[in-house]
């Protein structure tokens, strides 16, 4: 049976190397240095990261489209107490109940349009003056 003291008397090469490295470390070899630098700067784009970015982009896109559509379709929110409600410029189509006659009638149409918008203008002026 070997004497356990003999093992301690003989220096372990690995132990000796570690102790020497701690006391007086050697420079890294060029090859080892390159290997470590290459590992450090290598792009690490995992699939999980790409999928999460893609999902976020799609969600943001869907939200922006929905917001834009709803904002356009709904009534435009104006400041509730800032300024009067004014009649806006718009198509005059609703003033006419039937298709136009093949010939003539233009003056009657412009009469009707002008009278309707004159009424709108009066309302707008009264509203601006606060007389309503």
């Amino acid at each position: 049976m070997p004497d356990p003291r003999d093992e301690h008397e003989l220096p372990d090469p690995e132990l000796a190397r570690v102790l020497r490295a701690a006391w007086s470390p050697d420079d890294l070899s060029v090859e080892e240095h390159r290997k470590l630098v290459a590992q450090a700067i290598a792009p690490r784009r995992s699939k999980v990261v790409r999928v999460s970015f893609g999902a976020s982009a799609i969600l943001a896109l869907a939200a922006s489209v929905l917001l834009a559509v709803w904002t356009d379709r709904g009534p435009r929110p104006g400041p509730p107490s800032v300024g009067p409600t004014l009649s806006l410029s718009r198509s005059t189509q609703s003033l006419f109940a039937q298709p136009f006659a093949p010939r003539g009638g233009e003056s009657a149409r412009v009469d009707r349009i002008a009278m309707a918008r004159a009424a709108d203008l009066r309302e707008n002026q009264f509203a601006k003056w606060g007389v309503r």
Binding site: A57, D72, S89, Q93, F96, A97
Partner: protein, 187 residues
């Protein structure tokens, strides 16, 4: 990732294209009303239009078609404020000018007026339908002129264009009527 970016750009483009920026040309669901309050500038234009149309009536009734055309040409040459009703009045004036020119055999002049009028009204309205109708009449007159000149092929082509335009006019008018009925009638 490039495909997603492309989709994103396309979607944003569509949304931006349909947003109402005060334009008076319809085409997107929110194009009307245009957002400009009815003001004195719009009213001044409409008042001038009214006067010039009535002046054209008086001249037409007294047999002075060139005078009527001249009055209406003054109207379409006036600086026009940006408003839907102004576009429609100008379009209607162009249709009237085209009819007057057509009655005097100026088919090319009539065609130019119709084209200019159609640029003012893009959505389905009686104004656009009326312009298409007048354009159909112009092509019908052109077909007759080709027949008289012995140009059979040209006459056939003009006749086909006339039928197509008149059918399109009917379609536009039907769309307007359907929409009016769906909205519960006119105001």
């Amino acid at each position: 990732m490039k495909v997603w970016m492309l989709v994103l750009l396309l979607a944003l483009g569509v949304v931006a294209g349909c947003r109402n920026e005060g334009t008076t040309v319809s085409g997107c669901p929110s194009a009307e009303p245009s957002g400009t309050p009815v003001d004195t500038t719009i009213m001044a234009f409409l008042s001038a239009a009214r006067s010039l149309h009535h002046e054209a009536d008086l001249r037409e009734k007294s047999g002075d078609a060139p005078g009527a055309i001249s009055a209406l040409e003054r109207l379409v040459a006036m600086p026009a404020p940006s408003a839907a009703e102004v576009d429609e009045v100008v379009a209607d004036t162009r249709a009237r000018l085209a009819e007057l020119r057509l009655a005097h055999g100026d088919l090319d002049g009539a065609d130019r007026d119709v084209q200019a009028g159609l640029q003012r009204v893009s959505g389905p309205t009686y104004f656009r339908g009326h312009l298409l109708e007048v354009q159909g009449l112009v092509e019908e007159a052109r077909a007759t002129a080709f027949v008289d000149a012995g140009k059979r092929d040209e006459a056939t082509a003009a006749k086909a264009r006339a039928i197509s335009l008149l059918e399109e006019a009917v379609r536009v008018q039907e769309q307007v009527i359907d929409k009016a009925l769906a909205d519960g009638g006119t105001q």
